[in-house]
Symmetry: C2
């Protein structure tokens, strides 16, 4: 890298590695029939109302999108019971995470995360030149007292992925209350609730929107990529104080969210039937996998999301590659330093059964 | 703004103000029939092949897009005669401009721009804490010697919007050669060619891709928003050295370009017929406006793009508002400090004639 040409933050930057796309596996392995259980996508496909909305809007794609996503925000405000002014809409949750970093994080700040967790917290923090403090999970849970001890005068922001990706455990209401009581109010608390609709069936899952009034520096992040099945159009949103939202909306890209995504999201929001079907299928698929893992005496995290994290007792790189040869894509745990663990997204019943059957074949050979 | 909560760069930040969207004008003025000549959109609508591609891809929007846009890059590499490794694909040109800033611009650096020009150069520079040096246009042209004098040891990057937005004038091959000869090779030169397909019919317009080998720190930015008419899906690209492209691709959002945009762009690239029709209509619309402006003895910039910048000799805020009442949206020059000037996008012949007729009524009243 040429000295001084690039920003110094780029020198040690390690990009996030996403799940392998179906198209790529088809090309590389010469396969046509792929089961992708690697990116926590919706196995039922996109919300039908979202698809209809896209098709209706396609004739207008010569026009720039609405910069402020005014109609989607109005729908969302009603849906969530918040004000339009509390909302920021992004090109997927990933853009919102980068926008949070650009809004709040200075060089020299400290940012607290858990591990293993979603890699974008680290990449966005690194890009702004701040320091990451990692508080690993303890016994399959967030380490609340560890988080409290990690917060110092230099802490600008803490990330809580709830449910946590890749493990699927939640931080409960009781734990969150304890944590928020102990850390200063000027610390920005990001609750990443990408898997909200799956987790909210758990009575211990906190109702985070209720925290905003008391604690304005809370940011609640959600997405249409998971339960609504429109990851491909890229759209997510966050809820925070009006003041924080105004600052973020001020510096976001003018046209960050494309026209089709805005319409798809409005369609998806109306499509509660698709959301319900997706959540039901999810817990069916999880039960199938849990039953198999119990039979194998595999350790796993109880999941509150649309994936499960399991210790398959062999190196995940090998299992990953063997499954790929069968046309099944999962996420090997060695990415997170959990070498014998796998993160497997939920699928249709047939996809889930195929994964179980092929894993069994691999493990018997191994 | 709370002290120390937000990054200091946000304090004086002035966001870019886009053209008013049709939906907003309909709402505010209770109109149903709007002619929008404010955002340099394609009056023929989107490329039909792009629309077909979107409709084909909609069933797959539950899947994340390809992170590296591999198929589009392959198409583009063939189309442009460059390597896949020279390309970066963005969520519109705007995201690429922000990515350029995030890759190259440190606090304390200097960045040279012209004025009036595209506001995103300034906002992206400000967000990275660098200093903007402005070299205003001189006699309707880029001030080449002014640019040369403005470049110092601190200069990291210069922006050349070619053709320039909002004025439509170009920097010629001769001028560009002179400029590049005089400034150090470590200065990054960004040639924003958003209006490339319109300008390239001018024999004096530089063939910028040819400069890359000799001068790797050149960045050529193009978009599908203008001539291809798919601004609504957000997709643009840039061409630079393999090394620069690798750094930018390393830090870009993992899923920055949505699935439908990637497919739409591939369709648009195949749709040379739509491009040709658009360029032809553009110069017809420009001729109609130029004839009228000449009759009125209005000063205007000869345009190499799909808009024209004209001095209507009355305050642009008034003309803007009067036109809006008639359902015509243009861009008033006071945004750029050119109070009596208007930027008017080209339209269909009927739209162009309607603009001319309504402007004439306003001017006769005024």
């Amino acid at each position: 890298m040429k000295k001084n040409l690039y920003r110094k933050e780029l020198a040690g930057f390690k990009p996030y590695v996403p799940g392998k796309p179906i198209e790529e596996v088809k090309r590389e392995y010469g396969l046509t029939d792929i089961v992708k259980l690697a990116s926590n996508e919706n196995p039922l496909g996109p919300s039908p109302l979202a698809m209809e909305a896209v098709i209706r809007a396609v004739k207008d794609i010569n026009l720039y999108p609405e910069s402020t996503a005014v109609e989607l925000k109005r729908d969302l405000a009603v849906y969530l019971g918040v004000k339009v002014e509390n909302l920021v809409i992004g090109n997927g949750g990933e853009e919102l995470l980068m926008l949070i970093a650009q809004t709040f994080i200075n060089e020299g700040d400290e940012v607290v995360v858990t591990a293993p967790s979603f890699g974008i917290y680290n990449t966005s923090t690194c890009l702004m030149g701040a320091r990451i403090i990692t508080v690993p999970l303890q016994k399959k849970n967030f380490d609340i007292s560890g988080y409290c001890m990690a917060v110092t005068d230099k802490t600008k922001l803490i990330y809580l992925c709830n449910p946590n990706n890749p493990t699927g455990n939640i931080i409960t209401k009781t734990e969150l209350d304890e944590l928020l009581k102990k850390i200063p109010k000027n610390v920005v608390v990001v609750l990443d609730e990408a898997y909200y609709e799956f987790a909210s069936v758990n009575p211990d899952y906190p109702k985070s929107l209720g925290y905003l009034e008391e604690r304005p520096n809370t940011i609640i992040l959600r997405t249409f990529s998971k339960v609504s099945g429109i990851a491909g159009v890229r759209i997510g949103y966050l809820v925070t104080s009006e003041e924080n939202a105004a600052e973020m909306n001020k510096i976001k890209l003018t046209f960050n969210v494309n026209r089709l995504a805005q319409e798809a999201a409005r369609g998806a929001l109306r499509d509660q039937e698709h959301i319900q079907k997706t959540v039901e299928l999810n817990y069916k698929s999880l039960s199938m996998m849990e039953a198999y893992f119990n039979k194998k005496e595999f350790d796993f995290f109880p999941s509150n999301a649309n994936f499960i994290f399991v210790n398959a007792k062999q190196h995940s790189k090998i299992i990953f590659e063997e499954l790929m040869k069968k046309g099944i894509i999962i996420r090997p745990g060695y990415f997170w330093g959990w070498d014998t663990w796998l993160r497997v997204s939920t699928g249709t019943e047939a996809q889930t059964q195929k994964f179980i059957d092929e894993l069994e074949v691999i493990l018997c050979k191994g």
